[in-house]
């Protein structure tokens, strides 16, 4: 059988009944589209989380209220409920951890809060991080202009704010943000610094470059921030992480019940978040793959219709010398052409939608997901095409020619 014939018959089959071909491939299009979108959202999310944690700075321990990561390796429910309600962490704990000394460099308390920042009529939803002056060094924040707040700002509860570069541009445009006022929940803060870009998108919310940093004490009085959400402890050197973790745990144990806090290092945290996100992505893609199977059944159905519609044509081809294999290959190719067409359309649509989505939530197309989606769609066509194609190839030429 010649390539030209294969190409011709595949093309003709797609062309012969355009509406039907399109509707048939719709199942595959949707299947491939959802596989691509879900995997790219999943990997976008994974990248984001990794980026954000790496953006926090290195050699850090997290002291969180309750059990952050349960013994089974997943997130414990406590982490969420307690994190959002009552945290038993206090500034006393920060001081106690600092007193440990070597290998602990420093410890800072952090409270984060979603907030609406306003300048004139411009409004922007973002996140506040309230902490102490050491925050900049622990998080390795550099400054684009101005300065970070210092301990005096914190102790005297000055209403000053340091903002991310994206937010500075959003609120103040090209003019310098330093010395300008911005309103947080109706309370005015003076911008004293703009930090360097950290990159990374947010979960449909603020990204790292839009965060507003304010002194913790200011936040407690002006914005009614209650409690401390977590502590960051900076350790001197990666190989000291384990020792630091043990020391911090022991000190914290003196103040709180074992169940009321947990100490985790960054790598552990990132790893378990990635494991969970990976599993979620896999499960979602698996569900999406079911729609590919449904699409495949659609192709099989229409190929069966096609075989009986074209019984006479099959008979004619056989009369002219087509071998059973020629007919088999022809119908397989047609099925594969239908599914590949659907696959390609799905991939193109998936890429487009992913690009658009990426403006709002992190979405990252991976080459492997595209390759996987395409080959799965192609094989779907072949697998679901086999039955109709075999049926066609087994028709006797004369039975087929007689068929009316």
């Amino acid at each position: 059988m010649k390539f030209r014939l294969i190409w011709l018959s595949a093309f003709t089959s797609l062309n012969r009944n355009k509406v039907r071909s399109f509707l048939t491939t719709l199942g595959v299009i949707i299947g491939v589209l959802s596989v691509i979108l879900l995997t790219s959202l999943g990997s976008g999310l994974k990248n984001l989380v990794t980026e954000q944690f790496e953006g926090l700075g290195s050699n850090l321990l997290f002291v969180t209220p309750g059990e952050f990561i349960s013994e089974e390796g997943g997130f414990s429910q406590d982490a969420f409920t307690q994190g959002l309600t009552v945290s038993k962490l206090t500034l006393d704990h920060v001081r106690a951890i600092k007193r440990i000394g070597d290998p602990i460099t420093t410890a800072i308390p952090i409270s984060e809060l979603p907030i609406e920042a306003r300048v004139g009529t411009i409004k922007k939803n973002t996140m506040i991080a309230a902490s102490t002056a050491e925050y900049a060094s622990v998080r390795s924040l550099g400054m684009t202009s101005g300065r970070f707040f210092n301990s005096a700002d914190n102790e005297t509860k000055r209403r000053v704010a340091v903002i991310g570069p994206t937010l500075a541009e959003d609120l103040f445009g090209l003019s310098s943000a330093i010395g300008q006022q911005l309103s947080l929940n109706g309370i005015y803060f003076t911008v004293i610094g703009v930090v360097e870009s950290k990159g990374g998108g947010g979960f449909g919310g603020p990204d790292l470059d839009s965060i507003i940093y304010i002194p913790l004490e200011t936040g407690r009085t002006a914005l009614e921030i209650t409690g401390i959400q977590y502590l960051l402890v900076k350790i001197d050197g990666e190989d000291e992480l384990a020792r630091g973790e043990a020391l911090v745990s022991r000190v914290m144990g003196k103040y709180l019940d074992e169940d009321d806090f947990s100490v985790t290092d960054q790598a552990e945290l990132v790893e378990s978040i990635q494991t969970i996100l990976g599993a979620i992505t896999g499960a979602l893609a698996g569900i999406a793959a079911i729609s590919l199977i449904v699409g495949g059944i659609g192709i099989m159905n229409i190929m069966l219709v096609s075989v009986s519609e074209r019984t006479k044509e099959i008979g004619l081809r056989k009369a002219l010398g087509a071998k059973p294999n020629d007919i088999l290959v022809q119908f397989l190719i047609e099925a594969a052409a239908l599914s590949s067409f659907g696959g390609l359309t799905g991939i193109v649509l998936g890429m487009l939608i992913s690009l658009i989505l990426d403006q709002f939530i992190p979405s990252h197309i991976t080459l492997s997901s595209v390759a996987l989606a395409f080959s799965v769609s192609w094989f779907t066509g072949i697998i679901f095409g086999v039955f109709p194609a075999r049926k066609a190839s087994k028709l006797s030429p004369i039975e087929a020619l007689r068929y009316e």
Binding site: E313, L316, R317, A319, G321, P324
Partner: protein, 239 residues
Amino acid sequence: MKKPILELSGVTKTYYLGEVKIPALAGVDLTIREGEMIAITGSSGSGKSTLLHVMGLLDKHTDGQLEFLGKETSDYDEIELSYLRNRYLGFIFQQFNLLPKTTSIENVLLPFYYSDQKDITLARETATKLLERVGLGDRLLNYSNQLSGGQQQRVAIARALMNDPKIVFADEPTGNLDSKSGGEVTDLLIDLHREGKTVVIVTHDLELARIANRQIKMLDGKVISDTTNGKKNKRNSKK
């Protein structure tokens, strides 16, 4: 006498409709020689179409011997039969049976695609010449559904000639045509015979049958008369 192409002896074909046995061919002895033009006539149900299908290697006979170019074909499988049909046989059907939404030239090229010939340029030249010969030189790229019935049948004739077959089988070639188009098709068949092709026509149109020099009449699955230029042929003219 010229070489025999097809030799049938005691060929039977039996269909089963449930339990009922239907003998479509009840022992046919027949030899077809190169260059003959044969018309097989008979009422419907006489077995003439079945005979054409069996001779055209489209259908397997139930019993008896069928030698094609001196070789017994009874044991041939589907692949070998496909090869023989493609290489040595041409078919013209009552319904034309062109591929829909396909150009004339692609329809004519179809037997080439299933052959072991490789040269597409040469094949295109041949196909073009054949279409010119049937008077459709200006319709090479027309889609089959844009052609009249007579034109479609002429494309089908060009297609039947594509691989330069030993025998052309025509099954009621004018059955679906008006008298003018039918006349054109008839003339083409006469031309083919003049050029030395072996042509076998199955028809109940006695007008068409008259163009053949050899007349075979069928009744109840048997040959009841077989004459060449009015002279009776011997039964079972096996060598």
